[in-house]
Structure formats: C-alpha cells, structure tokens
C-alpha cells in the first residue's frame, strides 16, 4: 500500500477557502491573496494526485483567485469619470461571499446540535391502519371527487414528463430499423405510392418524425425506394424500386 496523507475533504471552494483563512489566522477583510492562492492551488494539486474527485467549482474558484491576484499586481487604474467612485478592492466581492457562507456554515452547525439532541427523543409511532379498524369511516374517500382524481392524474403525467426529460435524453424506443421495416410493409399495401404525410400522421413525438425521415433516407440510399415530390413543401410520395432479375426483396444494413 502506498503512503497516504490524510487530506481533509471540503464541501466546496468556499469551505476550503474558509479553512485556509482560519488555519493561517488571517483577517478575512485583508486576505493575503498570493499566499491563499498558493495554498489553494497546492490543495487542488494534492487532491489531484490522490485522485480525489473535485467538482468544477473548485477550478472556477482557482481562476477567480488568480484573477484577483493579477488585478492586485496591476497599478491602480485612474478612474477618469467625474464620479468620485471609491476605488474597488479586487477582493471585496470574494470577502462578502466568504462572510455570507461563513454565517450559514455556523448556522448549519447549530442545526447539527439540535439534530443530535432531538435524535435522542423518540415519538410514538402510531399505526393509522390499526386505528382505522377501530373506527371504520362511513366513507373511505372523504371529500375527494372524480374531478380531483382526473386532476391528480394530469399532474402525475406532467411530473413523469419532466422526469423523462431529465433522465433520458434520447430513448431509442423507435429505431431507424423499425421504421424501415414499417415503411417497406406499408409500401406492400400501397404500390401506387405512399404519402409521407400519412406516414408521419400517427407519430406521437418529434423524435418519431425524425426517425421516420431518417429511415426513408436510408431506404433511398439503399436503392430500395424512390421518392417523388411535385413541388417544394408538398407531400412526398414513396414508391418501391422495381426489382431487377434475381434480386430479393430483403434489405440489409451494411
């Protein structure tokens, strides 16, 4: 086993910065930015060597620190405007953010104490089902109506939709292969020409329309079908390519 240095884990860049400030006993209103930047980068370096997973926010903060450091090295720009604006300390915004974060970190600590205290008190677990048996309600649905039920179901559908958007960016429910097979089957029934508009009329999603179109392009490429369009933006008619001698009706992908 390799020698390991115990490296403290931080919630985020703010947590790490606060730690460095406390460790160095620095006045938060007058942060020696070069020192802190160096120590901050050292930590990232060591964490990187130990394969500790660091979120991108740590890198963003490193850039912020370097930028502040650079601005502090530059001579103070002379503000030419008439306003007697106070010259801004490049550290100002960071200090405010650190103070705010520190405040909530301390509040979180109080919640932790309360949680610890409260975890030693136990409530009675009341079994609703048992009580229900003692007092059977005359009406098990209360004031709920069937309209409520329909409304709840709509809400569920909406939630499902939201969730699906997050989880599955591209669900390959309808494949190009499925659609080529479908188009070929439809063409058997309509040798006089299959309308593309009709083909997509039953599509339930944009994806399905796109997949259908891709399938059509694939079939054209493979020489299985040809298409005719009277005018731009008009319907596209799809026809089966006449079979040559000895060719089979099967098609395949390369």
């Amino acid at each position: 086993m390799t020698y390991q240095v115990r490296l403290p884990i931080f919630e985020g860049p703010m947590d790490l910065l606060l730690h460095l400030i406390e460790e160095n006993e620095i006045d938060i209103y007058n942060i020696p930015i070069a020192l802190i930047t160096q120590q901050y980068l050292d930590y990232l370096d060591r964490a990187g060597q130990m394969d500790l997973e660091l979120t991108s926010e740590f890198i963003v903060m490193a850039c912020t620190l370097l930028s502040i450091k650079a601005r502090m090295l530059l001579p103070t720009p002379i503000i030419e405007t008439a306003d007697d604006e106070q010259e801004l300390d490049p550290r100002e915004e960071l200090v405010q953010r650190l103070l705010e974060y520190k405040e909530y970190k301390e509040k979180a600590k109080v919640f932790q104490e309360l949680e610890e205290r409260q975890s030693r008190c136990f409530w009675r677990e009341i079994d609703d089902a048992q009580l229900l048996k003692k007092f059977p309600p005359p009406n098990p649905i209360g004031t709920v109506t069937w309209e409520d039920l329909a409304h709840v179901f709509s809400n569920i559908l909406e939630k499902v939709e939201k969730r699906e958007q997050i989880i599955s960016l591209s669900r390959e429910e309808i494949t190009v292969r499925d659609k080529t097979e479908y188009i070929m089957a439809m063409l058997q029934e309509k040798p006089q020409g299959l309308s593309f508009y009709q083909l997509i009329a039953t599509a339930v999603s944009k994806e399905e329309v796109i997949v259908t179109f891709l399938a059509l392009l694939e079939l054209v490429k493979l020489g299985k079908v040809f298409v005719r369009q009277k005018n731009l933006f008009k319907d596209i008619y799809i026809f089966m390519m006449p079979l040559e001698e000895g060719q089979s009706n099967a098609y395949s992908f390369s």
């Binding site: 609703d128 009580l131 004031t143």
Partner: protein, 179 residues
Amino acid sequence: MPTLFPDETKSIIEALLFVANEPLTIKTIAEITERSEDEVEAFLKAIKADCEREMKGFCLIEVAEGYSFVTRSEYAPYIEKLVKPRLNALTQAALETLAIIAYRQPVTKSEIDQIRGVNSDSAINTLLDRTLIEETGRKEGPGRPILYGTTQDFLKYFGLKDLKQLPLPEKTLAEKGID
C-alpha cells in the same frame, strides 16, 4: 450502562412501553433494563397502580403477548373525533396511486412505482384497506406480479356508474408519449 435508581428504572420502562408498537414481555424489558424479571414485574405493577390512581388518559394492560399502554376505553368517542378526519382524508400518495390504478388498470405495483418515482406499498395497502382497489389477477411474465384494479366501492363512493364515466385527464397519455 450506569447503575440506576429504582425510580429511574420505572421511568425507563414507561419510556419503553410508550414507544413500543407491540406489547412488551417481561423478559424483553428485563434484558433491556438489566434487571431481574421479578423486579420488572414489580415495576409494572407500580406503573399500573400510578395510572389507575391518577386517572391518566391511558393505562397499562396485560395481554397475552405482554404489557402495553392503551387509552382508556371510555375516551374512545374523543379519540374518534381526532382520528376520523385524519382517516377520511386520502393522503396525496394514496390519491396519486388511486388515480394511476383508475386510469391504467389493470396495473402492477412496479408500474405504479415507476410512474410515481417512489415506492407505493403503503398507499396500496391503504387503498386495499378501504376497499377502493382489489387484486384482479396476475400478470403473465417473470414473477407473475399482482394486478390491481378499482372496485365496485370505488364506483359507488365516486358516484360513477361505470369506469367509462371517469373524466379524461386534461392531458392524455398519448400526448405525453408515455403510452
């Protein structure tokens, strides 16, 4: 654990009886408090006498499986007033589960869980207890999971003649592309 004063053991036994969902045996209490069974029995007697003397809202009873605190039976009408509104109202979880079963029946528990994104065990049990849903069969396939559907009581309480009368939700499944 530190040595306890007798009174403290009595309080601990009260606390144990308070949180226990099931009657507690003398043996269990003796093990937890590290007292002999005889001592525990004496404490239980004392607790029972306290409740009787002070006319507490609850008393200690001995049932086949052990000892348990129960509310005084003469207060049942008050407890009913507390409990009834709570039991009449269907929870949001139960309502969602019922809506899914009503519109997609017959449906399995795992299908319901999948749509809701959370486990629906206790909601299903509530609905079964209230006879709003029932098992309607088994689905073919691995594990042959139970299928649920709504009951006659469901139609009765919602004032529906049959399931066709259920209003279509504002958005249909097809539009949502999950069917």
